[in-house]
């Protein structure tokens, strides 16, 4: 099969989908010898200056409209869901500190987390439970989902804006949840991914092209 034909196939598959597709799923539709990563790079290059771009999000690939045309298209969608300031901050803390417990989110923000906030973030499928912490009380930890990465156009959480600066400034160190900091920090905490589905949750993200 010629390269040009292979590119057409990848293009057709990606164009038909409104969800990102993994290179593995794409490769399944092509002969075994095909170098899928090279194809994707070529395709991305061909669309670089068009009204539609090929982007890599959450480790997968999808076509989406060019960011500079947002001004034109934004009018076409109805008013989006309102996120409160508390919800936005909570989302930021979860994404930068993940895996993070509810108590830690509360400590960073200095207020208790009203019940609805996590619900909203989970309903938007941006936040997901990530297993329990191995500390007394075995609190649930939270992190972000693939859907979050896709929504904000991130390839992985390492690409979060300002992550390096926050880390360098020590703002992402373990959160000391003993209120008012009168005592020393507890020992750093060991993580144990232990939800039976934690591996599957990751995979769950987006089904391959077959539904």
């Amino acid at each position: 099969m010629e390269i040009i034909e292979q590119i057409r196939i990848v293009e057709a598959l990606l164009f038909a989908s409104d969800k990102p597709l993994s290179s593995i799923a794409l490769a399944d539709c092509l002969p075994e010898s095909v170098k899928i990563d090279q194809l994707l790079e070529d395709l991305q290059d061909q669309y670089k200056n068009r009204g539609v771009n090929l982007v890599e999000v959450a480790g997968k690939w999808m076509f989406q409209t060019a960011p500079d045309l947002a001004f034109l298209l934004r009018t076409e969608v109805e008013e989006e869901r309102r996120l409160s300031r508390a919800a936005v901050e909570t989302l930021a803390i979860i994404s930068y500190h993940q895996p993070v417990t509810r108590a830690e989110v509360e400590e960073v923000r200095g207020v208790s987390l009203s019940k609805g906030i996590l619900d909203v973030l989970m309903e938007a499928q941006w936040v997901r439970p990530m297993g329990r912490r191995r500390t007394p009380g075995r609190p649930m930890t939270y992190g972000t989902s693939d859907h979050f990465l896709v929504h904000f156009g991130l390839d992985s959480i390492k690409d979060l804006p300002g992550l390096g600066e926050l880390k360098a400034a020590g703002f992402l160190d373990n959160v000391n949840t003993s209120r008012l900091n009168l005592l020393d920090d507890p020992k750093p905490i060991e993580e144990q991914p232990e939800l039976p589905g934690s591996a599957t949750v990751k995979k769950q993200g987006h089904p391959p092209i077959t539904e």
Binding site: M62, P67, L73, V77, L83, S84, A92, Y96, H151, F171
Partner: protein, 268 residues
């Protein structure tokens, strides 16, 4: 997203409420509406010092907060508690900072405590900054869009039916077996009739002086479980019938509790 685009009513409401300037008279009617707890207030106050957050004067901040709490109208008790705890802690910190340092076991020095507060404020500030950056990214469905008319994978289902000759013959035979049964006999069931129950209950109820558990009036065990159930059911129905006729009163104090019955006393 900027205020210019959306006006004051920002879609995401991420703009921190501004603290009224110190030289304004309105400072006296500050209230905590719009603030999310003491840390939020502290951060807003620290910003008014107009210096790098690393160089804020903790003493000045403590003073500002104590004044804020004293002047603020805190209506909800729950909120008030948070603010008062913080105020007490800050007052303690202030005294520690002002007094010559003593060594307390298991406690941090006043400088360390102040440093930690500064750290917390910086961290919250930093999170606020990245929140804004994050939300200003191109969001899917707001700024960039995926295919509006996705072409779904069409799944064609080829049904094959799973049926053996045996299954079919069995179905026919079962059908024939069922339709070949011509006679149906229904056995007479042992029942305690409502009339019997009424007769018994109205006879006995007069003998009891006060509220009596309905099941005290049950006849002796018949030795037949089915009959016993029928007796109970009929006795209960009879009690309802008597109550309906105004001949008896029934009381039940709790769900599934015993039913108490007594004869209606008529002041003639």
């Amino acid at each position: 997203m900027t205020d210019k685009e959306t006006g004051q009513q920002s879609v995401f409401e991420i703009n921190a409420p501004a603290v009224t300037p110190a030289d304004n008279e309105e400072r006296l009617i500050l209230d905590i509406e719009g603030f999310e707890g003491p840390l939020d207030v502290l951060l807003a106050l620290a910003r008014t010092q107009k210096v790098d957050l690393k160089q804020i004067s903790i003493l000045e901040l403590v003073q500002q907060f104590l004044e804020f709490v004293a002047e603020a109208k805190i209506q909800e008790l729950e909120k008030a508690a948070d603010y008062l705890v913080m105020a007490a802690w800050l007052a303690y910190l202030k005294s520690r900072l002002l007094l010559p340092e003593e060594t307390f076991e298991d406690e941090l020095s006043a400088e360390e405590m102040a440093a930690r507060l500064t750290y917390q404020l910086q961290r919250l500030n930093a999170i606020r900054d990245v929140s804004a950056t994050l939300m200003s990214r191109n969001q899917l469905g707001r700024d960039v869009f995926s295919r509006g008319m996705p072409e779904r994978v069409v799944v064609t289902k080829n049904s094959t039916f799973d049926l053996s000759l045996y299954d079919m013959l069995k179905a026919y035979a079962d059908h024939k077996t069922r339709t070949s049964i011509a006679d149906i006999r229904i056995h007479k069931r042992a029942v305690y009739t409502l009339d019997q129950a009424l007769e018994r209950l109205s006879g006995l109820i007069g003998l009891a002086m006060d509220w009596t558990d309905l099941f005290q009036f049950l006849p002796e065990d018949t030795g037949n479980a089915e009959m016993n159930r029928s007796v109970k059911a009929s006795l209960f129905t009879a009690s309802l019938e008597m109550a309906r006729q105004g001949k008896a009163e029934i009381v039940q104090k709790q769900t599934f509790g015993p039913l108490f019955i007594r004869k209606t006393t008529r002041p003639d």
